[in-house]
């Protein structure tokens, strides 16, 4: 079976800590020190209160499937999903290394990383 090629994310100065951490197997979240809320995808200003003092925080890697869809009409079928992290935010991702037919909303998933073209890594999730 052919392997799905993952394009490298194009980082910028605002987001490079996130992608550098991903290469080391860490999923970072941004948390605002003013309002206390974590968000995704990461921004320099808090999207809830425009607070400009934010911290990077390592996510636990535990989450649940909020929704998903198996893309059948693709050279290699894959599953896109929104996963709600234990810390609160919901992120767009893929569910991998599993039987897609057995997936369901609400299922517990855990973080894994998959290599991209160009030496990067993408946070994804697998049941368990």
């Amino acid at each position: 079976m052919s392997v799905r090629k993952l394009p490298a994310p194009e980082a910028n100065p605002e987001t490079s800590p996130y992608w550098e951490a991903a290469k080391k197997g860490v999923l970072l979240l941004r948390r605002c020190t003013s309002c206390g809320r974590a968000h995704h995808y990461p921004r320099a200003l808090c999207p809830f209160c425009f607070g400009d003092r934010l911290e990077w925080q390592a996510a636990s890697g535990k989450g649940t499937i909020y929704s998903f869809s198996v893309m059948q009409r693709a050279p290699v079928p894959y599953t896109i999903a929104y996963v709600t992290l234990e810390e609160g935010p919901t992120m767009l991702t893929n569910i991998v290394d599993c039987d897609f037919a057995a997936l369901s909303i609400g299922m517990n998933v855990r973080l894994v990383f998959k290599p991209t073209e160009g030496g990067g890594a993408l946070p994804m999730f697998t049941p368990g």
Partner: protein, 389 residues
């Protein structure tokens, strides 16, 4: 100040082509502009406002204004995807009310079919500066799978079924059989939809709209211009717009921006969903229709599946005749943007010019609504309420 009664739709034209390898995109825009102006009984030299969106080639409105050789005093190229043209009608009415223009031309055209575009199934690489792109594109978001996740969540939360979604396509096909220009004119059954291949679960091929070339145009005018024209008077009485995104990670796929744009339009028009005799509802996918019907208040949240079933959207059969031209699901989705044709069919209904088999009797109050962009990530929402005087 409100939009109610400040402008009328004097001209509407849907290009008859569905496959135009022999025409340029700019040419299609021009043919649509000509068609809509002729329909209104106006000429190119009467136009003093021009509106277009991202399908128009060139920087904003500049290339098309120059190509069409218009002399305008107001332009607007707001782009909210397929909902842009509904929003343009509202913006045109606002500009007319402020005296910024009196004859506004809105055009749309494109050739995704003859250019072989995999509209729904190929992830689209965008501008790297788009802030969400790096966090989404690598995961393979396509138009279909991002709408499919809304359907999956709706099914989970409200018990909606694939059979209920299929009824939306069935209704569209019942209407398309009367439209000689429609791409898909064969009536389909619920089983046909369920039996068509899954593109992105839970959406089947027949849950998806067509990919077509073509276009359309509208002419929105001031009431004092309208009184000298011979066309039936279609007045804009309410408009609402909204955008919805991922809210910093607070994702909720169970509703669309229609939850906000709909009530704004109804309040301005001073009417209720139950008063609407005909509705054009954006139908990129069956799930799009179902969620918008709920969010516009035609039924309660979560009841959409039951509402659309058993032919309730079929003209002459159900309570809410929708997309009587066959919609994007069967007729036409020019430039991958269906908002224009939504307004055009509503205008036909209000003028009594829809096909006799699908014409709503004494249709005096109609709604057109569009979702542009991607329902499952970020989209624009525009609602328009029109009245025949």
């Amino acid at each position: 100040m409100t939009n109610n009664g400040k402008a009328c739709i004097a001209g509407a034209f849907e290009h008859p082509t569905r496959n135009a390898p022999d025409k340029s995109v700019a040419q299609l825009h021009a043919e649509c502009a000509k068609g809509a102006l002729e329909d209104a009984g106006l000429t190119k030299n009467d136009v003093d406002g021009y509106f277009c969106a991202g399908d128009a080639p060139g920087m904003g409105p500049l290339s098309m204004v120059d190509y069409l050789n218009l002399r305008v005093r107001h332009v607007d190229s707001t782009d909210t995807g397929g909902s842009s043209y509904l929003l343009h009608v509202a913006h045109a009415a606002e500009a007319i009310a402020l005296g910024k223009c009196s004859v506004a031309l809105i055009t749309l055209a494109g050739r995704p079919r003859s250019e072989g575009m995999a509209t729904g199934t190929a992830p689209r690489q965008g501008n790297p500066a788009q802030p969400d792109l790096q966090f989404e594109f690598p995961y393979g978001p396509t138009v279909v799978n991002m709408y499919a996740m809304c359907a999956m969540r709706h099914m989970y939360q409200y018990g909606t079924t694939s059979e209920q979604l299929a009824w939306i396509k069935v209704a569209a096909s019942e209407h398309a059989r009367h439209n000689p220009n429609a791409m898909l004119r064969d009536v389909v059954s619920v089983q046909d939809v369920i039996d068509s291949p899954v593109v992105a679960s839970p959406l089947h091929r027949l849950d998806c709209c067509v990919i077509s070339d073509g276009g359309g145009a509208l002419v929105v005018v001031a009431p004092e211009v309208m009184k000298d024209l011979k066309r039936p008077r279609v007045k804009i009485i309410g408009a609402g717009e909204a955008t919805k995104g991922q809210s910093g990670g607070d994702v909720d796929l169970t509703f669309s921006g229609a939850r906000w744009s709909g009530p704004r339009a109804f309040a301005e028009a001073g009417v209720k969903p139950a008063d609407i005799q005909y509705a054009s509802i954006y139908d990129s996918f069956t799930i799009t229709v179902l969620m918008q019907i709920e969010d516009l208040g035609f039924c309660a949240k979560g009841e959409g599946g039951r509402f659309v079933a058993d032919g309730n959207l079929i003209a002459g059969v159900g309570k809410l005749p929708f997309n009587t031209d066959g919609g994007g699901l069967c007729n036409n989705h020019p430039a991958n943007r269906g908002g224009m044709t939504k307004v055009i069919e509503a205008v036909r209904q209000l003028r009594g010019e829809a096909h006799t088999a699908v014409q709503v009797r004494n249709c005096a109050l109609a709604l057109a609504h569009g979702t542009g962009g991607v329902l499952g990530s970020r989209h624009g929402s525009a609602t328009l309420i029109m009245e025949r005087e």
